[in-house]
Amino acid sequence: MIELNINGKPYTVDVPPMKRLLDVLREDLHLTGVKEGCGEGECGSCSVLFDGVLANSCLIPVLQAEGVEIGTIEGVAIGEQLAPIQQCFLEEGGAQCGICTPGMILATKHLLDKYPQPTLPQIQEGLAGNLCRCTGYSRIFAAVEAAAKLA
């Protein structure tokens, strides 16, 4: 049995220790906001916050997540209310098909924790590990800039 803490809630799962955290979140805990894109740490669609820092859940064996505070997109909204970052992605057109969006939002959260008023190069670098293939990065950067202004 492996004990996990996800979005502040405790979970116990009976899974192999090398099972990817991504698969445990989706298949065992039905937290399907986390997506699989490349499955090799290149695209960022499986991003989670791992003790507060951005990480790719496809590269984390679930045993390594024991004792760690895991944050997923499901923990970002405040009750039924979208968090400011989510609201800005919505208003700026920073989401289209939605596959990259949970990762983009978590990468933005990690970025704004480090740099509350990021420069454009800091935004570009902070989100460089998150690939989008439809809406385009300009609108995503605009969403991040709008979220920083609200902070």
């Binding site: 220790p17 990817r20 090799e40 740490g41 960022g44 045993l63 390594q64 990690h110 998150n130």
Partner: protein, 285 residues
């Protein structure tokens, strides 16, 4: 095809001593940040051996500053390195390499020790550590030993690490006052590409001559390499166009680049010479 995770054992002993005792029994593969091993798992090419986790060991994640050296625990992440003010100021080649090793998410997980032990000839941190003449401390259940990093890589993905041994720390001397440094990585694009070719160089000029020179390279041979012949061609010389030509010829003679999915031998050789020339031109200004 993806491997079945249920076929792999993974344990996380509480202390470094417990991990070393596990490794001493033989047959275990260490896993730290997982940025290589989990990719191999997903691709179905991870050997089916039990694994032992290192990522929770605080004993391996530290940066100590002494008068003579920075001592970096093998479990230190690239994010730890690039955000350490002392390293950024004193070891720009290493801080630079950490800043372009993969994405932020991978820098948060990938470790310096893992990068060395994985021993890819294209890895980002080895050229810097070769130029800085780092010293490794290796540990096992039976003791520890130190080794110059220049002696660590033996061939393609082959290192001097013995069965049951782990890299414990990487010590980098702090003797670079008065040195000029240069590092550049050339990949398919600027962000997050694996290098086609990279150089990390240090030089000290005295009385218009090169009094000391160290050049580390990635993707120029089957393993990360110090460019000894190129250094010999440059040592004691003034930086003139003749010297540059001799150095380029020496680099061409000792480099063993290959054709692979990322680039060609001809491109790598040409760009390596161009990077070397760019470095030497910066020295003469």
């Amino acid at each position: 095809m993806r491997a079945n995770a249920a076929q792999y054992e993974l344990i996380a002993p509480a202390t470094l001593d417990d991990v070393l005792a596990t490794l001493a029994t033989g047959g275990y593969t260490p896993i730290a940040g997982g940025t290589e091993i989990m990719v191999a798992l997903s691709a179905g090419r991870l050997p089916q051996k039990p694994l032992v986790s290192l990522q929770h060991l605080k004993e391996l994640r530290f940066i100590e500053t002494t008068a003579e050296a920075y001592v970096i625990g093998a479990g230190t992440t690239f994010s730890d390195i690039r955000h350490h003010a002392g390293l950024a100021a004193d070891l720009p080649l290493l801080a630079g390499a950490a800043s372009w090793t993969g994405s932020i998410a991978n820098q948060n997980r990938g470790t310096l020790g893992g990068n060395l032990v994985n021993a890819s000839p294209a890895a980002d941190s080895p050229p810097a550590l070769l130029a800085y003449e780092a010293t490794l401390k290796l540990v096992s259940a039976t003791g520890s030993r130190t080794m110059p990093y220049t002696a660590f890589h033996l061939g393609y993905k082959k290192t001097a690490l013995l069965p049951g041994e782990l890299v414990y720390s990487i010590a980098v001397p702090r003797i670079w006052t008065g040195y000029r440094s240069y590092t550049r990585k050339v990949g398919t694009r600027n962000a997050q590409a694996i290098s086609k070719i990279a150089l990390a160089c240090l030089a000290r000029i005295e009385e218009n001559k090169i009094a000391d020179i160290r050049i580390g390279a990635a993707s120029l041979s089957a393993m990360p390499m110090r460019c000894a012949a190129t250094e010999s061609a440059l040592l004691g010389q003034p930086v003139t166009s003749q010297t540059v030509e001799k150095a380029r010829a020496a680099l061409a003679s000792e480099a063993r680049p290959i054709d692979d999915i990322r680039s060609t031998a001809a491109y790598r050789a040409a760009v390596a010479g161009n990077l070397l020339e760019e470095f030497l031109q910066q020295l003469s200004t």
